[in-house]
């Protein structure tokens, strides 16, 4: 479980996160949604500790990462898996070496055990026959999937995904969502996902935090999100013609 309390973050006097509090539960897929530029990435990076926050607290199962010494922080980080918005694969390493990197670095697994784990992770994200290609030689969607494989390589306790399915086709996108939901439940991971994909919201939104201009605007789950009266949220959720149609149909259903 990750708890954030009254988080503040600004860049050169411009406040990007204003007083955000929430609880992200274990074994559930927690989504952060919001418009482009609303502060989702900044929130995620603040939680993992890539950005210094100006105010507030972040508790990883009760452990405050700001009170930790260097060593404790390092250990905490080994429990974290993160998928960056653009993958952030290591350019100089092949697909296989990328996924193996955390294992090489932190485990004493034998070559064979690593290979088994590697195949398992790549299998899970549907990457085949690309083990020896470099990140520049695979497609954007593949890069994202390799990044997911790398993030789950060490069975993380906390998984952070910054728009894991942006740039993926609908089919792969659903596969990735299903994968994340599955491993989250299976290994009891605390998962936080940034997204503005409404499919993901419907499919895997166990707990949804909607932020707008750095403020927490709404919180709930995927069944509540379509019945909310929150104006900003409605404008966000029902922006596309597709979802407008969906709302009309739903209203007709409700009227009957």
């Amino acid at each position: 479980m990750i708890e954030i309390k009254n988080l503040f973050k600004s860049f050169e006097g411009r406040t990007v996160l204003k007083d955000i509090s929430s609880v992200f539960e274990k074994g559930k897929t927690n989504l952060i949604i919001g418009q482009s530029g609303s502060g989702k990435t900044v929130l995620l990076k603040s939680i993992v500790g890539l950005f210094e926050i100006e105010g507030g607290e972040i508790l990883f199962d009760g452990r405050n990462n700001r009170n930790m010494n260097f060593k404790e922080q390092k250990l905490l980080r080994q429990e974290i898996g993160m998928v960056f918005q653009n993958g952030a694969l290591f350019d100089s390493l092949t697909v296989e070496e990328n996924v193996r990197f955390p294992m090489d670095m932190f485990t004493t697994m034998s070559m064979k055990e690593k290979k088994t784990r590697l195949d398992f992770c790549l299998e899970r994200v549907n990457i085949r026959q690309s083990n020896h290609l470099y990140p520049s030689e695979i497609s954007g969607g593949m890069r994202k999937r390799v990044a997911i494989a790398r993030a789950i390589a060490l069975n993380p306790k906390y998984l952070f995904c910054d728009e894991p399915n942006s740039g993926l086709d609908p089919v792969t996108s659903i596969l990735i969502d299903a994968l994340i939901k599955e491993i989250t439940a299976e290994f009891d991971i605390t998962t936080i996902i940034n997204t503005h994909d409404m499919n993901s919201v419907m499919e895997i939104g166990d707990n949804i935090l909607f932020i707008s201009e750095g403020l927490k605007c709404w919180e709930g789950n995927s069944s509540q999100i379509f019945n909310t009266r929150n104006k900003k949220l409605n404008a966000f959720v029902f922006a596309s013609p597709f979802s407008k149609k969906f709302r009309e149909l739903k209203q007709m259903e409700d009227d009957e």
Binding site: L50, K74, I80, A88
Partner: protein
């Protein structure tokens, strides 16, 4: 103000670089890769430049220094000492600052802007140490070898152009390069190349590691790295010469 800020940041980075590595085996693998990339791959250009410079220094000495009152072996001797004292140590380091330094700064800079460094940090890896330490050790380790290769090639360059000019014979040239040899010059220069090697790796690493922005800034950082490293090399050349020759 700004200068002190950078000096402070630079030393703080070095503290992180020299922390105990996570896993020695991986560092050794990285070190071998860096020695190949930064060192072995520089041998060719070092050799070519040194042959030409040795040849040019020899010609200059031949046409400007030699007169009937001076023994002609002074040509070989002059070439040797110029190579050892300044060319193969300082000038070569300036050149490596351009080649190796810009390579290091742009590599780290692009890793920074594409969040590869962040993703390493998130895994719990000490990215500064993992990325920079092998580079520093590799460059410092390879520098004396490059120095020796350069002196050797420079002498060969002189051996080619000297006799061709018709003023000095091969035998006199060889006498020149073996006369009045001062071993201290060599140790002095090797100390210099070690210090310069450290600068060539660490200053561009600092510039690249802290890049903010996009591809444009990476380019700028790489240029700045070369300029600053070169100035520092010359400054330390001055300091070391003053210290070691007193």
């Amino acid at each position: 103000m700004n200068v002190f800020y950078h000096i402070g940041q630079y030393f703080l980075l070095l503290v992180r670089v020299f922390k105990k590595p996570e896993k020695n085996s991986i560092y050794i693998r990285q070190l071998v890769l860096e020695i190949e990339k930064l060192g072995i791959n520089s041998i060719g250009i070092v050799a070519v430049i040194s042959v030409f410079m040795g040849g040019i220094i020899t010609l200059q000495l031949t046409y400007n220094m030699v007169n009937p009152l001076m023994p002609t072996y002074i040509i070989g001797l002059g070439n040797r000492d110029t190579l050892i004292l300044e060319f193969s140590s300082t000038v070569l380091s300036l050149m490596l600052a351009g080649k190796v330094g810009s390579n290091i700064a742009s590599e780290l800079g692009s890793m920074r802007i594409t969040e590869q460094i962040d993703s390493m940090e998130i895994m719990g890896v000490n990215s500064a140490s993992y990325l920079i330490l092998p580079k520093i050790i590799a460059v410092v380790f390879i520098s004396p070898f490059l120095f020796i290769i350069s002196v050797f090639c420079g002498l060969v360059g002189g051996l080619i152009t000297g006799p061709l000019s018709g003023v000095v014979t091969i035998a006199t040239y060889v006498t020149g390069i073996t006369t009045l040899f001062v071993p201290f010059y060599v140790s002095f220069s090797i100390i210099k190349t070690l210090a310069f090697g450290f600068l060539i790796a660490s200053v561009p690493a600092y510039m690249g590691y802290f890049v903010q922005g996009g591809a444009l800034e990476v380019g700028r950082a790489s240029t700045r790295a070369v300029v600053n490293t070169s100035i520092l090399i010359l400054f330390f050349d001055l300091v070391l010469t003053q210290l070691l020759f007193k």
